[in-house]
Amino acid sequence: MIEKTVTIVNKAGMHTRPASILVKIASKYKSDFYIIKNGFQINGKSIIGVMSLAAEQGSEVTLKFEGPDESKACAEIVKFFEEGFGEI
């Protein structure tokens, strides 16, 4: 299992477009993917789940990966967060 804490850096936060790309990336991998925010854990492959976080700029979320390809999944998704979902 890998856990990694990231910060939302883009101005608009994790709105619908990045949320939908995020679940698409996550769905490519076999590993389970969870996002933890304010103590709540949601399934990162669920669009409604990701949207319900309403993660704004500056907020911190913890990403949790568990499965055979967890390191690969972690690398790609962390990168996506660090790049501000391609919006900066």
Partner: protein, 348 residues
């Protein structure tokens, strides 16, 4: 594998280039109360190529440049009365000039009886003359619509076409993927089958696609492992309809984990059929997925959108508002945020 949109775009279109006057008359005589005034079959083998009609007022008055004589000519009260008030010599001259053009046929409205001279020239030239009690504008509208339908392009699509809650859904997908079974399941749930296997699609006007079965096959259907059934006799009249506007195309695909499917519905696709764009939905199927129920939801969601409610858009806007609100009171007092404000007993 070739993309389905390209496949459908490349379908061979069937387009009648023309119809004969005889075909036009036979199809129109009862619908539009046409009676033939000219003798015999002369001129009935004439050809109609243009879906538009023409009212030859100016041609009768002598101006024949740009006279679209190859269209169906309609004479209303104006033309008939104009001819009537001319002096005999002028009238003969006008008619001679008029009949020097090879017109497919002439329709006279309001039951206006043409003069003997008019009829003898029509007979001599072999231009069929029809008469109708209908008023000119209405008649012209009917004829236009009829010719537009007859001369519009058609394609045959291998799929199932069902009216689901009033929305015409065309199911497309490779042979054996289960289109007929889905159609049958929908019929069982009270929806209406338009056609199975061969769906004839034609364009109506500029932006409407109409779908129907072929005259022969209509509501017969093949169910793998069972053979041929007739939906009309098995389920009765409530289970069928003859034609329906095609509003959506649902492409049934085997679930492919490597492929991306829309997750929000915001990035909706369309498909070009006969030059008309209609919504296109890629529906991945896998065991345990109830395509029938999803089809009903597709229809209902389409209706919601049609009536102005786009769920994907609304949720997306709500999310953006929530993010903005949070970003504003940054130094928020709430350290620990709950998704629900206050669960107050067991109230509604």
């Amino acid at each position: 594998m070739k993309d389905v949109k390209k496949v459908i775009k490349d379908f061979k279109q069937v387009e009648k280039e023309s119809i004969t006057v005889e075909f036009f008359f036979n199809a129109a005589k009862e619908r539009f109360k046409l009676t033939k005034l000219t003798e015999g079959d002369k001129g009935l083998d004439g050809i109609i190529r243009d879906k538009h009609i023409h009212r030859p007022g100016l041609a009768l008055a002598g101006y024949t440049e740009l006279f679209t004589f190859d269209r169906v000519q309609i004479l209303g009260n104006t033309e008939v009365r104009y001819l009537r008030q001319l002096s005999p010599e002028l009238r003969t001259r006008a008619l001679k000039k008029f009949f020097s053009f090879r017109m497919p046929c002439i329709c006279i409205t309001f039951n206006n009886k043409p003069t003997e001279e008019f009829m003898s020239m029509a007979n001599k030239k072999g231009v069929p003359v029809f008469i109708t009690p209908l008023e000119t504008t209405r008649f012209a509208y009917f004829i236009n619509d009829f010719l537009d339908d007859q001369l519009s392009p058609q394609i045959a699509i291998h799929g199932s076409f069902v009216d689901v809650y009033g929305v015409g859904i065309l199911f497309y997908g490779r042979s054996g993927i289960g289109k007929s079974e889905i159609a049958l399941d929908l019929v069982e749930r009270g929806h209406r089958l338009v056609a199975d296997d061969v769906v004839m699609i034609s364009r109506k006007g500029d932006g409407i696609l109409m779908g129907t079965g072929t005259e022969l096959v209509k509501h017969f259907m093949e169910i793998r492992g069972l053979g041929i059934i007739d939906v009309k006799s098995v389920f009765g009249i409530r289970a069928i309809r003859f034609q329906k506007r095609a509003e959506l195309l649902v492409n049934l695909e085997e679930w492919d984990p490597k492929k991306e499917y829309t997750r929000t519905g915001l990035d909706s696709e369309t498909i070009d059929i006969l030059g008309v764009e209609i919504p296109f939905i890629r529906l991945p199927i896998f065991p345990g997925k109830n395509i029938t129920v999803i089809s009903e939801i597709i229809a209902l969601n389409y209706l919601c959108k049609h009536y102005g409610y786009d769920a994907a858009k609304i949720l997306s806007e709500k999310l953006e508002q929530a993010i903005r609100r949070k970003a504003k009171d940054k130094d928020g007092k709430l350290e620990f945020e709950r998704a629900v404000e206050y669960l107050e007993h067991d109230f509604e």
